[in-house]
Subunit: 500 residues, 2 copies
Amino acid sequence: MSTIPSLPTAKSIQVDTRGALILDEESPETRDSRGIYLPNYVEPVSHIAVDIGGSLAKVVYFTRSPEPPTSPSIAATKGSNTASNVTTPESVSPGKLTPTTPSSPSHRHDALSRVNGALTPAVLDNGSSVASVLPPSLDTHFRDSLLRRASVHHLPGGSLNFERFETDRVDECVEFLQTLIARSAEINGVSIEEMRKSVKIMATGGGAHRFHELFSSELHVEVRREDEMECLIEGLKFISLIPDEVYYFSDELIHSVSHTPAVPFKIPAIVQNGVNGVYERPSPDPPKYAVTFEQNPTPQLPCLLVNIGSGVSIIRVDEDGSFERVSGTSLGGGTLWGLLSLLTPATSFDEMLDLSEKGDNATVDMLVGDIYGQDYTRMGLKSTMIASSFGKVFKKDGKKVKFSAEDISKSLLYAVSNNIGQIAQVDFISYMNAEKYNLDRIYFGGCFIRGHAATVGTLSYAIRFWSKGTKRALFLRHEGFLGSIGAWIKNIEEERPERE
Amino acid sequence: MSTIPSLPTAKSIQVDTRGALILDEESPETRDSRGIYLPNYVEPVSHIAVDIGGSLAKVVYFTRSPEPPTSPSIAATKGSNTASNVTTPESVSPGKLTPTTPSSPSHRHDALSRVNGALTPAVLDNGSSVASVLPPSLDTHFRDSLLRRASVHHLPGGSLNFERFETDRVDECVEFLQTLIARSAEINGVSIEEMRKSVKIMATGGGAHRFHELFSSELHVEVRREDEMECLIEGLKFISLIPDEVYYFSDELIHSVSHTPAVPFKIPAIVQNGVNGVYERPSPDPPKYAVTFEQNPTPQLPCLLVNIGSGVSIIRVDEDGSFERVSGTSLGGGTLWGLLSLLTPATSFDEMLDLSEKGDNATVDMLVGDIYGQDYTRMGLKSTMIASSFGKVFKKDGKKVKFSAEDISKSLLYAVSNNIGQIAQVDFISYMNAEKYNLDRIYFGGCFIRGHAATVGTLSYAIRFWSKGTKRALFLRHEGFLGSIGAWIKNIEEERPERE
């Protein structure tokens, strides 16, 4: 060991992601919380990460297993990323990203049935945890040999598991963690007291401070706090390395894809360059582009991260991982759900999204055409552009007209998404143009997005339009879990010895 | 006349504004539509300007009179612009700019009683219009002499008059114009047909196209269309020349003003530089600054004009008067009024504003402190900052909690104002920093503002905060009439012979 100060080296994430696979969707409600199988990650992990936001608490934990818990479905994980594997428009429609059935915690399974596998306390990392998953029918000699190898190579891999809870029902989250810890003790054949000594909760998000006392007193385990923004960035750095995690709207219109001969496939010029080189403005009903999943992750920094939860934070992440919250807005997911719960009979996020898909915003929004009777060509404003969201609702004579919940939902979803897209693109374009930052990627994360076609579409169009088609909005399957993944990753780094 | 192309010369406005005075307020509902007395403007004017927006139609016309229709009240027009004439905080409180009683068209006077004076057809510009306003008791010789002078010097001056109508009740506007034309014919002693030949309607705004046919068929006068943005800019250029028209929040806190010895007056350093050099973020309840009226108008271009009507347009005006709509948002006045008419029992703008003044947004908005339990110091987010507008409303378990109309109004008014301030400041700061544009003034106009203290305060704070206290948001008494004033001015220029 030398005492000469060493140059700083790029910190690499200490989780082996080679061969990582996103597992199949169990049900629409687990769309964004599918497990990730890491066949080559072999360390014991007994910490649990919890990111407690204004509305949702997100849990991440790792369990070891000799094979993927369920076989990954190629169709479900790969989507399309080349023209040749575009099959039918339906199979790659962004609409498919949307949960189709309403869900609420009361419909969900109880804590026990939600727990996947078991945590592995480091103290037991002598092969016994492998023994517990090997079939007892194995030849004893072969079994011993496997266990010897396992103690060296830490076979097998395992899975990252994801769970969501309402922050208002944090007791459900606590119950889930209690069950997970108790079950892990049982499977590993150790006492609950021993297990608790081994488990750590890495808490992040706004609620990490508020609920610190509750978690430590109820769970009897160590609870550590991690900085929210740091965790978001760590989470993004990790998750964007997973194949098929990152997705975006391709340049291929669904319509063109389905109406163009497959061989030789050629993207129509009208789509590549927009109509007459003009890129469509964002709108509540944009033409549908095909969704493409990034199979081969590319370097993800520097980037702008727009994290859309109850509120919105916009964070610039530089090439070295340092970051700054450059702006944000209080008009986020909480605003949409809050107003819609006052204005519609919907009682869940997904019911609101369902409503919005059936709505026509033109009954409540004042369009340019409603004011001008035509395009305002000189200013480049098309007649279909929204001049004033909800501008048709107010009637000064006091007559209250009844508007449909569907139309209201569509209008508000578009207004909130478009406003975020507008604020985000301003930051993006200005940092993109600032040579110093060399920025050309923008990720949208956070629970607000929910893979909803209209939201993803609006944000994609905003970036496409304002960057004149040169840049794309990037989305993440595990959009809401960046903070909890980051808290989990940060502790992996801390637990491992420094490598020189 | 030479055929050699001449260099373009700066176009000057052809209306003599020397000695211009803003007339006293008749009632709270005429706060933004007080007449402007122009003692030195002597031309006959028989055109009427109408700016028809998505929600309101704004009318401007000029009538000649030997003296101001009512004596201008110094207190009402001057406000404060130096420390020495700050008297009591109450007299300069921005709250004073707010209408205190609800108003709706049904409470307003009928068309006839709203008509002020008469238009003067150019054809009659031989003194007879002056004759009509001279007392008949005058000595005949003196009277003739006055009339001779009048035909040369175009004595006397006159007043610009302002009226507002709902676009949905455009028939009321038509009736008003019919009455104005008929009364002008009567006063000038000409037939209605002759009068109609002399009158022109200059129509601008989105509705100029839609209602063109209605205006010409109902009024039997020529209707010309003028470009909306051009009129806005012309209107701004003219109106900002009027003393006491432009106002802003000074650097003097109401509190400090009222608690600091008057002589010698010194602005406390804490106010000048913010607390520890940190400028307060915009918030729903900012400390109250004194309102200052600009008595001596200064050059107003280049500038950014943020026009807030049903929707919002942000326009960059260069030094030579050329302009570009650089951005905008559909979240404007129409959104606020539309949503509040769905969410509260209020049936007029002013009822909604009244509600908002009594509300507490913290019951519906999720504050940083609600999530973190404290400031998020590392990110510079104070616990009182709004993290998510309406973020406390949504409860996933379906229980609908009742929120007060007052709290909802306050939250939404702040959310919309702050969002506009945020979008505007980004444009402002970026053009301010672009050497090419040399921009350092930002005006907020449009009917949404209504001189409402919370709106003016929020926009002022946004600009103050983001420019680090170096710039101010500027407001206009006739905020909603820029377009119609511009259409009126443009025609003055057209009617006059070119001056070489």
